[in-house]
């Protein structure tokens, strides 16, 4: 495909972004004195700040590019990842789980496992999370370099090292506060730089109705083609969407992944912490207005056979179409000088904020759950702060090393991207039982988590290496010739079920902690939240109800 040529003013816009975020890091350096400042941004953020950061930590450019391209393949089904695949979990986190997390004054999600269970579960989760985060961070870097190499002709090392050095600089200086500031800037830049693509797409199509007009049913609806996996391009059925995506994967990610939950921990009080994911839910629901609309426009242009809109071949596999190029192609199509620079900056900011989120979560988990737990139990606050800063740099270097590894051995990408469902899907069962069933024991939690992760990994390997017969594959996924998406969803469902079952079974035959040890950590042993003094429009439950109504309405309208 033709590379995008940038003018001086486009370069100025891109360069200004780097100057700006490093400047923010330098400015915030003076406000980062203690471990709480560095790792939890001083616990003084409002729900607006924490909520936008909560969403932005998840909102990488890869997701935007990937799901815009995904819409060309799967149509409206992509919206499931923004609606049922996110909102119920975010609301559940805010309403029911956040009180246990926030009130226990922990620094990380593994920290809750220590208080609720024991050191083994904490360490298992901390190590797996740290490895997952670094590898994902490396993949993010590699894919960023790939996108900018193909689209702009930038050398591989340039985008990787420049962005890695910038992130290392501002996180080392300002810690989580820097990460949160830049994530919020990124959130606004994504809307400023990419929403216009959808608007101009709608204008070119002749109106929003024209964007959806004439689409095949499998492209235009959320639910009506999910009765059978053969009716939609994603190859999924509604039970897999509801159970696998809407329950296990979604709850596993949004309620236990420290990358996002850390932003809520930075809130100034419990009410703000509970409102954090609920606030984020509204903005999450709005994202298909960039991603899906742009994807639909790209689909229509490619079907029309527009001369200037030809989807290129995948740079890593020439036999496939490179759908990730859809959004950049639309930028080239619509954006004049200046706006191109802003569009590229929005993508860069998205990549870098995702990186920064990974690095800030990694440095916290390593410092509190590995360094202080295993290496130096009596570390002072100053030492933890120092370790956090060093870990940031080491984490960035390991991410770059992973990126180079992915560049050399492209096949490892599939394994690394699957790590998420090995780690988070079973962890959700461990957390759910821990918070809502006081009979859950430390032995049950540890072995349940271990077996759940092993089951998830085994199913992944079984499909990857072709070890399953068609009958076994059907038994696992309830589908003939299951698609990759169906396999992923059922892999997560089984991991969750096995972890849940093993944890319950072992808990029933082992000794639980006493009620005194579980105060504040489990439902029934934690005082109910009294927000009777809060006005109705300030209550998390009110806004969660509004978000839920909007979610239902969107699903009805686009059913």
């Amino acid at each position: 495909m033709t590379q995008i040529h940038l003018s001086a003013i486009d370069w100025a816009i891109i360069g200004l972004y780097f100057v700006f975020i490093i400047g923010i890091g330098l400015y915030l350096r003076g406000f980062t004195k203690t471990g709480d400042d560095f790792f939890l941004a001083g616990r003084k953020n409002s729900s607006w700040v924490a909520g936008l950061a909560f969403l932005s930590a998840n909102l990488g450019a890869l997701e935007i590019l990937g799901w815009t391209g995904g819409t060309m393949k799967y149509g409206m089904l992509v919206s499931h990842f923004y609606w049922i695949g996110a909102i119920p979990a975010m609301l559940f986190l805010g309403l029911y789980m956040m009180p246990f997390y926030y009130s226990s004054r922990i620094h990380s999600v593994p920290g809750y496992l220590l208080l609720r269970y024991d050191e083994r579960s904490r360490l298992l989760n901390a190590v797996s999370f740290a490895v997952m985060t670094l590898l994902m961070s490396g993949i993010n870097l590699y894919l960023m370099a790939l996108v900018f190499n193909v689209l702009l002709g930038w050398g591989w090392g340039v985008s990787m090292w420049v962005s890695a050095a910038s992130i290392a600089c501002y996180i080392t200086l300002g810690g989580l506060m820097s990460a949160i500031f830049t994530e919020i800037v990124q959130f606004f830049l994504i809307w400023a730089g990419l929403f216009l693509v959808s608007i101009l797409g709608i204008v070119e199509m002749g109106g929003i109705h024209e964007v959806f007009a004439g689409l095949p049913p499998a492209m235009a609806s959320l639910w009506s083609t999910t009765g059978s996996s053969s009716q939609n391009a994603m190859g999924v059925t509604w039970p897999a969407i509801v159970m696998g995506l809407g329950f296990v994967l979604s709850f596993g990610y949004w309620t236990t992944d420290f990358l996002v939950v850390q932003r809520a921990f930075s809130s100034k009080d419990l009410r703000s912490a509970r409102l954090t994911p609920i606030t984020a839910a509204f903005f999450k629901m709005a994202l298909p207005f960039i991603v899906v609309i742009a994807g639909m426009v790209a689909y229509k242009l490619s079907v029309r056979g527009e001369g200037s809109f030809v989807m290129p071949a995948d740079p890593t596999d020439a036999t496939k179409t490179w759908y990730d190029a859809a959004l950049p192609l639309l930028i080239v199509r619509y954006y004049p000088t200046g706006l191109v620079g802003l569009g590229i900056t929005a993508l860069l900011a998205g990549f870098m904020a995702g990186q920064a989120g990974n690095v800030s979560a990694f440095n916290t988990v390593f410092t509190y759950d590995i360094y202080r737990a295993v290496i130096k139990k009596d570390a002072s606050d100053a030492q933890l702060l120092w370790v956090g800063r060093v870990t940031t740099i080491v984490g960035i270097l390991l991410s770059v090393a992973t990126a180079y590894l992915a560049m050399q051995f492209n096949a490892i990408m599939d394994y690394i991207q699957a790590i998420f469902s090995w780690v988070n899907a079973p962890l959700f069962a461990t957390m759910l039982l821990g918070m809502f069933w006081k009979r859950t024991t430390s032995h049950g939690a540890f072995y349940g988590l271990l077996v759940g992760m092993a089951v998830s990994f085994s199913i992944f390997l079984g499909f990857k290496l072709g070890l399953f017969s068609p009958a076994t594959a059907h038994l696992i996924t309830f589908a003939d010739n299951p698609s990759d998406m169906t396999r992923n969803l059922w892999q997560a469902i089984w991991a969750w079920l096995v972890c849940f079952g093993v944890t319950v079974a072992i808990s029933l035959v082992t000794t639980p902690k006493t009620d005194a040890e579980l105060q504040g950590l489990v439902k029934g042993l934690t005082p109910d939240i009294d927000d009777s003094q809060v006005v109705w429009y300030g209550k998390p439950a009110f806004w969660a109800a509004v978000a839920f109504v909007v979610l239902v309405a969107l699903n009805v309208v686009f059913r």
Partner: protein, 72 residues
């Protein structure tokens, strides 16, 4: 005259968001009017001008809100 106390809290994030949106709004308008012409679809709608203006308005509002909310 007493030297003023150094601020204990950083400026609100909204100030930084406002500044960058404002500056980018100006640069986008400048790019659309002074920069080299790129042949784009819907060029006749002048997206750089009105989108840049929208960014400037949002940027100015956020900058003002952030500045007025400092140390609050």
């Amino acid at each position: 005259m007493q030297p003023s106390e150094p601020s204990r809290e950083p400026l609100p994030i909204w100030f930084f968001v406002g500044v960058i949106l404002l500056v980018y709004g100006v640069l986008v308008i400048a790019g659309g009017t002074l920069g080299p012409v790129r042949p784009t679809v819907l060029a006749e709608t002048k997206p750089a001008l009105w989108w840049g203006a929208i960014l400037c308005v949002f940027g100015a509002v956020f900058t003002a809100v952030g500045w007025l909310g400092r140390d609050r």
